[in-house]
Symmetry: C2
Subunit: 137 residues, 2 copies
Amino acid sequence: MTIDADRGILKHVLNDVADLDRVFHALADPGRRQMLERLGRGPASVSELGRPLSMSLAAVVQHVQILEASGLVRTQKVGRTRACSLEPVTLRSAEHWLSERRTLVERRLDKLGEYLAETADRAASDDDHAPTQKENR
Amino acid sequence: MTIDADRGILKHVLNDVADLDRVFHALADPGRRQMLERLGRGPASVSELGRPLSMSLAAVVQHVQILEASGLVRTQKVGRTRACSLEPVTLRSAEHWLSERRTLVERRLDKLGEYLAETADRAASDDDHAPTQKENR
């Protein structure tokens, strides 16, 4: 995949509010996050994803469908099983939304810190040069 | 805030599964994301956050409470209003969870790409050096 294609998909994902609703909703469940953690280590079948979770296969299938609808997971029929894999572009789009907000806040906090440090320096230097009350008389 | 303190909070947030449930649940609503986008531009009162949204003040307050419980927003009583601001550490913890998964997948895809390129190179070079059928006879 070229970087341009990647950016194109990213832009599409970010532009669609409903897409981010689905992505964050999919991420809000601990069982689904556990499935994503497993897929981070490599593709897996639906039953492999369900193995460490104490739930019925029907429940596992439903979770996988939610993950697939969100774009976080891609599935492919391989013989009689369904192979699942993580979709990094969707992960990146959610990360991107978060980092944009965070960067804005951090930049403002940095500026505030600089301003306060400068003000403190100026106050200290004014104190050094200010004539004492005695000299003023 | 020092980097160590930042890491300490980050680790705490990441260790608590329920915390990430709350963070991603809070992010799954378009109205709440709009509030976070507004707070990305600077602190705001609850009523300022609600102004662009077509909902009652009671509904706005409820959304702010969900954002506050998730740790994405901090609020502070200032006179008769409540000032809200974004909490970058919580944004970073969600980003971190996503980027860990994404990096694992991307690294594996890169390795697969390298392997395929090497295999293709070797096949091409084998073809160059292989005796033709005519020479074999």
